[in-house]
């Protein structure tokens, strides 16, 4: 069990780097809500955005926050510790209905996707473009990001 969300966030950042690359922004402000991590993947001119909201408890609040991130992201995930993930799993239809990803993450850096959402277009072109502009000419590389969504 994580003691704090900060502890969870630090470990998740390490996990992201090792498995998916370092193409991410942390707690990026000025959008609709503040996602814990915004992961991006560049393919020619196409930029795909995956946002993550990490929580130790209150999965429903996390899901509401994640839905906001769909304004600028192609995918939004709620990442919960094992205990909270079980409560969220009992309400999996909510994640299906709103096309929000759900994952479990624990102290041993074990990451398990419980619901894999479909890739979708961000609701707001303006917010998405704002984010894409700030990513700009970043040369950071991503890998394996296809595992986060259904095609």
């Amino acid at each position: 069990m994580f003691n704090t969300e900060l502890e969870m966030s630090k470990l998740f950042e390490k996990f992201l780097k090792v498995n998916f690359g370092n193409s991410y922004l942390k707690e990026y402000q000025g959008l609709f809500g503040v996602p814990d991590f915004v992961f991006y993947s560049k393919d020619d001119d196409e930029v795909s955005i995956i946002s993550f909201e990490l929580k130790l408890k209150d999965w429903k609040r996390a899901a509401k926050q994640a839905f906001r991130y769909k304004s600028f992201s192609n995918i939004a995930y709620v990442v919960l510790c094992s205990k909270s993930a079980n409560s969220a799993l009992n309400n999996i239809e909510l994640f299906e209905r709103y096309n929000i990803g759900l994952a479990r993450f624990d102290k041993e850096s074990e990451f398990q996707i419980l619901y894999k959402p479909a890739l979708s277009r961000p609701f707001s072109d303006t917010l998405n473009q704002k984010l894409v502009n700030s990513i700009g000419s970043s040369r950071k590389k991503s890998k394996n990001c296809e595992m986060f969504f259904r095609v």
Binding site: F67, Y98, F123
Partner: protein, 388 residues
């Protein structure tokens, strides 16, 4: 029931709307309008309006408050409570004279704000404000209705003894025709969802009406329509959130305090809610008839254009709200029982509409309809009390 514009920053939006036939008058805000500028306003803006004297904090010269002749700091630097012993008559005279010079519809007796009211609060208020004000009005044969400003603190609603004490005090002044009620709002949510608070507010208004007082409620948000079932004489509409919810911070000269700009929101009379515009973007993507959830106004076409840059400081969403909410209030039935039934019907309809939206858009608690079931319960409880 009348609708007053609670003015503040950007009061020109209210004045423009009022001149376009929206609302029944304005409540002027000294911290935002220079005293001489207000004196120079066309009488058409003032004849159905009144002044909120804003003597809430004796020592705070926020904004343009110091330009008002009755501002205590103009009588004595570092004016404090003990100075009221010697200066109350002078303040009353200057305050009445200024209001008379503007030819407002009502004369408003000021009130003070305390974090926690002292036990002598009502005695002091009578001595320092009510008596000198009323005596000066009577002595000078000024023929205008008098309103008493009262800040209703949450404890004055929840604690029956304090509630009765406040009601007894308000109704004990023979020369006072009515009350300018200001319900202090300490809630974190944008809509009030506290059953007891809302029911006690309705009870509070009802007692004042039973005592033949005019009841004018300032600083109201959407809950004004709920308050309408207790038959007040007026409610208020305001632009920014701090004009639709009373908090003392607005009157404190706090420099360099961190400010976070809120997201722009759009009011919907069909939903009894202000929806964060980012959710409207989501609704546009997911609900083909998303525009139908929002009222028509002269501002709507512009706001729904893709190139419209939403920002909380833009006038269109507020002017839209003034128009829509004024119409909503004006359309409620005159008879109390019909008003209650109509509101219940409209609230049920809003709950149904929210279900349609939330089938695809996951709204947060400040944009969803989570306040509506509580409001329905409050109405039912109040209705039961009326029947008994």
């Amino acid at each position: 029931m009348k609708v007053y514009h609670q003015t503040g920053f950007r009061d020109n939006w209210n004045r423009e709307s009022y001149l376009n036939g929206i609302g029944d008058g304005l409540i002027f805000s000294p911290i935002n309008i220079d005293a001489d500028k207000l004196l120079g306003f066309d009488s058409i803006l003032k004849v159905n309006s009144f002044l909120d004297p804003q003597l809430y904090l004796l020592n705070e010269a926020k904004g343009t408050l110091h330009t008002y002749p009755y501002f205590p700091g103009n009588l004595k630097p570092d004016f404090s409570t003990p100075d009221l012993d010697n200066s109350n008559l002078q303040i009353a005279q200057l305050c009445v004279d200024y209001q008379v010079a503007n030819n407002f519809k009502y004369l408003v007796i000021p009130t003070r704000y305390n974090e926690d009211n002292p036990t002598s609060y009502f005695i002091q208020s009578t001595e320092f404000f009510v008596l000198p004000f009323c005596e000066y009005v009577r002595g000078n044969n000024i023929n205008k209705k008098i309103l008493l400003s009262v800040i209703v603190k949450p404890i004055m609603l929840s604690d029956e003894e304090k509630r009765n004490e406040a009601l007894n005090w308000i109704t004990s002044h023979q020369q006072v025709d009515g009350v300018y009620l200001i319900f202090e709002n300490n809630f974190n949510s944008k809509q009030i969802k506290d059953f007891d608070y809302l029911l006690n507010t309705l009870r509070f208004i009802s007692v004042l009406k039973e005592n033949q007082m005019e009841v004018h409620i300032g600083y109201t948000n959407t809950e004004a329509i709920l308050y309408s079932i207790a038959m007040p004489d007026s409610i208020s509409i305001g632009s920014y959130e701090n004009l639709r919810s009373f908090g003392i911070k607005r009157f404190q000269d706090i420099e360099n305090s961190p400010m976070r700009a809120p997201n722009a929101r759009l009011y919907s009379s069909k939903l009894f809610q202000w929806i964060d515009y980012q959710y409207i973007t989501a609704m546009k993507s997911l609900l083909p008839s998303y525009e139908d959830f929002f009222d028509d106004s002269e501002f709507k076409p512009l706001m729904f254009k893709p190139e419209f840059k939403w920002h909380f400081a833009k006038p269109e969403p507020y002017k839209h709200y003034f128009y829509v909410f004024d119409n909503q209030i004006k359309s409620i039935p005159i008879e109390q029982i019909c008003r209650i039934e109509k509101l219940k019907e409209d609230l049920r309809s809003a709950i149904t509409l929210f279900k349609k939206i939330e089938n695809v858009v996951f709204l947060d608690d400040n944009s969803n309809g989570s306040h509506l079931p509580t409001w329905l319960n409050v109405i039912n409880a109040y209705q039961r009390e009326l029947d008994n």
